[in-house]
Amino acid sequence: MDQLVKINSKNIVYKGGVDDKLMLKYILRRLLVTLITVLGATVILFIIIQFLPGDPATVILGPRATPEIIEELRAKMWLDQPVYVQLFRFLYNIIRGDLGTDVLNYMPVRTLVFNALPHTIVLAITSIFIASVIGIPLGTYAAAYKNSLADKITGLLSISMIAIPAFLAGVLFLLFFSVYLDWFPAMGGGKEGDIISQIWHLILPAGSLALGWIGYLARIMRASVLEEMTEDYVRTARSKGLRERTVVFKHVLRGALIPVIAVIGVGFGNLLGGAVITEIIFHRPGLGTLIYHAIQSRNYPIVQGGLIIAVLLYSLVNLLADLSYSFIDPRVRSD
């Protein structure tokens, strides 16, 4: 609900009508904020990684490492330098588009990250898509028939879905739809270059990741529609003699969608988090799997490179979500 209040207050700021200049200024300001956020997050993450217990040389090399090998590895990760030098070099390299090199096999981290990234983005977008396509109509329907039996059932279903964590849904889906019914493949991201195989491999992981979001979006949509129905323009529309269905689906829906979009924006980041476990369960390639394994083996360059891309992605999605309000809400448009 916090989100809802925040968004509405933003609307009020621009309610008087937004001209293009103001919009541009707003976009620029948001861009700047995003940039600062990314920079800040990068620095914080970098520092946190420094405090991770466990010497990477020990973890990576095991008992075979001689002091010379350990020294070499530490040098490769710049661990022999002061933290501020490491940070500076890291930031400088990022600006040049260099995310570093995997210390074990000399592969550029950029290659590893950008090979994994599309899989994660596709997974998250598909999940959001599934969640929206099912959750939004479900919530709208529940609001339109408030307090009916259907509304109550929808409510119960939504809460149940929210209560099931994605990893549990993943395992259950895997057992039921893949092992037991044999409808879907159980592992992998699909054959390279074969779109249909890839989509086929996407359904279960995206579905399990979407499940909680279906419930969540349905609840938010219901609340949002109900709130929107109390607005003056709804009364006007009704008094003009419009049918209730037209009022709800044509007018109310647009305004009610704004908080949902905001939630989706923020939710995309959470989805990236949930995707880690989902990717592991379904043995899917992706940013989550990449970072997870890199943390386990203390392969710092991959952890850092992967995380900064994740932060960038998260900030970008939030930026886009923020900017999209104005295109959806008629009150934000200049009229």
Binding site: V179, E192, D194, I196
Partner: protein, 510 residues
């Protein structure tokens, strides 16, 4: 098409449309699938396949590279691999070899010559390489080329492990000199050997495909492709196996019963090259007191740990070196639970009311369960164990640097050579991998001596004596050498060496 049918029955319009679209995809997927392949779980993804640096993926290296000698299928007996002749001089310092002619390297890198052997071995002791295997070749002076296919390996001292874990294993891999010089660092992920399989494709974190090398000089395997999937979680890979997506996978020990009742599945129980033990640091009271250590030995129920934490699968170990490895101490005494004796010993040590102590564990169920059993066992003699959970990667740092008495359960991965087993309890390793911080000069002396003793009987005696010393000092509580379990379907006949997969000998059964 089974998929679309089952969906049709359910009459779900939306799903039906999707199924129609996707089932056509499956046909496409299946159509190109003419190669004979086997799909298999790989515990963790490979990182670096250069034999001078690989610390994971030994199984893969066994398939990619030829050595002068190799292990016979499923046995520790050595036979010639790339070598046609192989002789060790009486003093153990000169090894003469002659390569088979016509051994080709993968991907068109030409024929293997003595030059490649020289390059492969000397590279490992080159300080610039900083190879993890330098110690395995520690007494190598140089390799002398005496002909296109022949040469001499000149050693400064004989080295007993040379014929166990160096020449027939990873550090003995012969790589293409030309390929390494061309590829440099890229060799790590583009390995060029001459083994029956070559690395066809690697998608990090997703799959590794080994393709059959059609110009392989020996008997070619009948599997054309082995697809390996880095699936970390055994439960997940069991599901994939059940579904038929994998032909072979490692399973958790808990699942053995389930698969043994399935006639379509072969279960392979392998002993691991590991030791699992309860350790305590000898530097601090109360563990510096031998009577305390003896009391623990009588109080900790090893069988209960094997049943509770290892699902009752592996055999109990009473000493360090596992059966089948040189130096196994067959008659090692077994200390069964005797609480009365344990209490007496504690009293003798000056702790009649017991004491409180920290035991560290990772969240790995094996470690957690063992720690909990130990806690319950020791409570009976008045010792209060506080279990502290530490993340795996941080565990080593903690156990290496702690400055107070702690207990821990640990397993350690080893090789086929006993020298590698005993090494981790020497004084040299205190502060590194000797987590016990136990030190015994006679033990150290024997470890050094055994490493250069070529007479197998004498070497064996020394290793047994070392284990006797540990036993007398109650230095450690051995639990087991562990076990691993694999399942395979009837299509594939897998072959193992210890717990390593010998992919080169795997067969499709048809």
């Amino acid at each position: 098409m089974k998929i679309s049918k089952s969906l049709l029955k359910r009459g779900l319009l939306l799903v039906l449309v999707m199924a129609l679209v996707f089932s056509s995809g499956i046909v496409v997927y299946g159509a190109g699938d003419e190669v004979v392949k086997s799909r298999m779980r790989l515990g963790e993804d490979i990182e670096n396949l250069d034999p001078a640096h690989l610390v994971r993926g030994y199984d893969i290296a066994l398939a990619l590279y030829n050595k002068l000698l190799k292990y016979k299928p499923g046995s520790s007996e050595l036979v010639n691999d790339a070598a046609e002749e192989f002789n060790v001089s009486d003093d153990g310092k000169v090894i003469t070899f002659k390569l088979k002619e016509g051994i080709m390297f993968h991907k068109g890198y030409g024929e293997m010559t003595a030059e490649d052997v020289k390059f492969s071995f000397e590279r490992i002791i080159d300080p610039e390489q900083n190879s993890e295997y330098a110690a395995d070749w520690q007494t190598l002076d140089h390799v002398e080329i005496t002909g296109k296919y022949s040469g001499k390996i000149i050693l400064t001292e004989p080295l007993a492990s040379l014929l166990v874990t160096t020449i027939p294993f990873t550090p003995g891999s012969i790589i293409s000199k030309k390929a390494y010089e061309e590829l440099g660092n890229k060799f790590a992920t583009n390995p060029i050997g001459s083994g029956p399989y070559y690395m066809e494709k690697w998608v990090p974190e997703q799959e590794l495909i080994l393709g059959r090398f059609e110009d392989y000089f020996g008997q070619k395997p009948n599997i054309e492709q082995i697809e390996l999937y880095p699936i970390g979680d055994k439960n997940i890979s069991e599901m994939n196996f059940d579904k038929g997506d994998l032909d072979v996978t490692e399973i958790s020990l808990d699942s053995i019963d389930r698969y043994e009742s399935d006639s379509d599945v072969d279960v392979h129980i392998l002993s691991t090259l590991k030791y699992g033990f309860i350790g305590f640091n000898h530097k601090y009271a109360p563990f510096d007191n031998i009577n305390v250590r003896k009391a623990l030995r009588y109080a900790i129920d090893v069988d209960m740990i094997i049943n509770g934490a290892y699902s009752g699968v592996p055999k109990r170990a009473n000493a360090m070196i596992a059966p089948g490895i040189l130096g196994h101490w067959e008659d090692a005494p077994q200390y069964d639970v005797n609480l009365e004796k344990a209490r007496e010993l504690l009293e003798k040590a000056g702790y009649p009311d017991g004491f409180e102590v920290e035991m560290i564990s990772t969240s790995n169920p094996l470690y957690m369960n063992t720690s909990q059993i130990v806690k319950e066992n020791l409570r009976k003699i008045g010792i209060e164990v506080n279990i502290k959970l530490i993340e795996t990667s941080a565990w080593y740092e903690y156990v290496g640097k702690e400055s107070h008495p702690i207990m821990f359960f640990e397993t350690f991965s080893l090789t086929l050579d006993p020298g590698y087993w005993v090494e981790w309890f020497t004084t040299d390793q205190v502060g590194k991998w000797n987590f016990l911080k136990w030190s015994n000069s006679r033990y150290d002396e024997l470890a050094d001596k055994a490493a250069v003793t070529m007479d197998l009987e004498k070497r064996e005696e020394m290793y047994i004596e070392m284990q006797k010393i540990m036993d007398e000092e109650a230095a450690i509580i051995w639990i087991t050498n562990g076990a691993k379990a694999y399942v395979s379907n009837k299509r594939v006949d897998p072959v193992f060496l210890g717990h390593y997969n010998q992919y080169r000998y795997w067969k499709i059964v048809e």
